[in-house]
Amino acid sequence: MSLWKIAWRSIQQRALASGLTALSMTLGVALVVAVLVIYGVLDKSFKRGAQGYDMIVGAKGSPLQLVLTTVYHLGRPPGTIPYQYYLDLSPGGRFSDAVRAAVPVCVGGNYKGFRVIGTEPYYFADFEYLEGEQYEFAEGRNFNAGNYFEAVIGSTVARETGLEVGDTFRPVHGLDAEQGEEHEPFTVVGILAPTGTPNDRALFVNIEGFYLVHEHEEEDQAGGEAAGDETVAPAGATHGGDGEASSGGRPEAPGTEDEELEKLLARQMTAVLVLRKDPMSPEFDEPDVTNPLALPRLINREPDAQAVEPAQVIADLFGGIVGNVQTILLVLAVLIVIVAGIGILVSIYNSMNDRRHEIAIMRALGARRVTVMMIILCESILLAIGGGLLGVLLGHSLTWAFSPMIAEHTGVIVRPWEFQLTELILVPGLVLLATAVGYLPAVVAYRTDVAQSLTAGA
């Protein structure tokens, strides 16, 4: 008989009271775990979403709004920027020295609540969604720059809408409304493999087709009305294209014919996603070469545009707002755990009256005061740790059970085995709590008068 076993048998003897006490601890710890896991997954997923590109150039306004719109497909964009900025960041443009890759993004329209994004096919070739992780197609292929009404859809969109390669869909005007005026149909030519980023929840259409449908729409509306809440001002779209996905759609600022260039420059877009060159590269030692680090500053001087670093914006958001919410939730959850700990104290303390005789027998058998005290502490620790471990399992199970709902609303995929490092603090924390709350009943056990209790129980 070890002291742990003696404590365990004591718990078994009072199975109902012990079970309820452990249950309160389970619920408290489950809440702590759920808060930690959800925050951790959100943090990771948000940062993951912002990893593919290191700078976004968009309309002046809220940097967070720009990031949420372009990276996370949430909310409304702050405005539009002239197409000229895309040309400036493209090869041969004025900022091109500092840029490794740039891709335009037009936000407008939705299909069954999922955002429709107009972009270039090399979005999926030049950018990685994570470091070293290229976009892959689970089915089909990338859209061709020359085929204006082709589209690629994210894995969640495919699953939720049932769209398959070869199907057509008509985006609806507006960012949120599922019902409204429908655009020209696009044909799904590829389904992206899951990336765990918000792009799983978006439909990507050829930007030229995107401009075309908006141009027609504009013509239909006789140019009298604004384009609602969409952020792309249509202009003369280039119908020409070489039809190649990799580079054919890329604009070449010099050498474009005047008329075509004029149409291009009349276009507006939501943002340009930019991947900068390595600033430590020797080429940036030359004084007349734009350094990638200076790029945000240079763009922010412009009258129409701002440059934001999404990773920094997201870090600020989490540190400033979400982090505080997490702290509040965590404090509340810890308070619940402490209350559960007090429940253990009350449960064991209330049982001490019935157990005085039992303790006296142990003492008569040779148990020292410290030994009976340790048995009570073991009991408290067993209840706290047992309830706590069940709470960890319950917390992960709950987050896993709700993961489809979380994924549906946020695009964040929660996995049951995504343990947070901070959860490791739970075990020593619970042991400390159990020791603290077990101390009072343990002292009662310590002070039990053996002779009196033996006589009383005889």
């Binding site: 008989m1 002291l3 742990w4 039992e358 008569a364 058998l365 005061r369 002779a451 033996l454 005889a458």
Partner: protein, 247 residues
């Protein structure tokens, strides 16, 4: 430590208890009392005359107001409380009137319980002893001894039964096995037959006397029943030992 050849010696032992009115109720005043090693004796006395108090004093469960209690040459009145606990676990086995088996534990576990609180054998390291006591319980040899003790008292087939699943006689046999668990030199039995019927009384007395003889353990029984006391060669009347007359 003093060598006198006696296993138990009481010298001028006095014990009193505080009363609500501030006075003290004097219960025991024993000028001299001795028990030899391996001796078996009965102490008789009326209910409330201090028999249990005497056993508590000898076991070191409570302290005398004055006097000396020597067990195997050790004056336990000089011990600190924790030393008394260790000494009791090692030297004294206790059989209670109501058996006092722990209800949540099996017969075997009740016997092992005594070993859990037993002293550290000299050959065992402190670290090993600590882990055995706290984590995985008594060693295999101790478990084997617990089983043997239960087999000896005829409960080899009842090892995993809990007290509520045992008859009164079986419960008292478990209590006897538990008292012998740590190879004590003295068994103190406090009215061990008070709560059993006449048929079981004899069985329990026989069991106690026989096992104590086999283990060479001294046996001190306190009882108010003459038919129990008559079975011992040495019978002491507490009223004669005690200078205090308790009303």
């Amino acid at each position: 430590m003093e060598e006198s050849g006696k296993l138990l010696e009481l010298r001028k032992v006095k014990k009193s208890f505080p009363q609500p009115d501030g006075s003290r109720l004097h219960v025991l005043d024993i000028p001299r009392f001795e028990v030899d090693a391996g001796e078996q004796l009965a102490i008789m006395g009326k209910s409330g005359c201090g028999k249990s108090t005497l056993l508590h004093l000898i076991a070191g469960i409570s302290r005398p107001d004055s006097g000396r209690i020597m067990i195997d040459g050790w004056d336990i009145t000089l011990f600190e409380e924790h030393e008394c606990d260790i000494f009791r676990a090692k030297m004294v086995g206790y059989v209670f009137q109501t058996f006092n088996l722990l209800p949540g534990f099996t017969a075997l576990e009740n016997v092992l319980m005594g070993m859990t609180f037993g002293p550290r054998p000299p050959e065992r390291s402190v670290v090993r002893h600590f882990f055995e006591r706290v984590l995985w319980g008594p060693a295999r040899a101790e478990r084997a001894r617990a089983r043997r003790l239960l087999e000896r008292v005829g409960l080899g087939h009842r090892l995993t039964h809990r007290p509520t699943q045992l008859s009164v006689g079986e419960q008292q046999r478990v209590a006897v096995a538990r008292a012998l668990a740590n190879r004590p030199k003295l068994i103190l039995a406090d009215e061990p037959t008070a709560n059993v019927d006449v048929g079981h009384q004899q069985q329990i007395i026989d069991l106690l006397c026989q096992t104590c003889r086999e283990e060479n353990v001294a046996l001190l029984i306190v009882t108010h029943a003459p038919e129990v006391a008559e079975q011992f060669e040495r019978i002491e009347m507490l009223e004669e030992l005690n200078a205090v007359i308790v009303q």
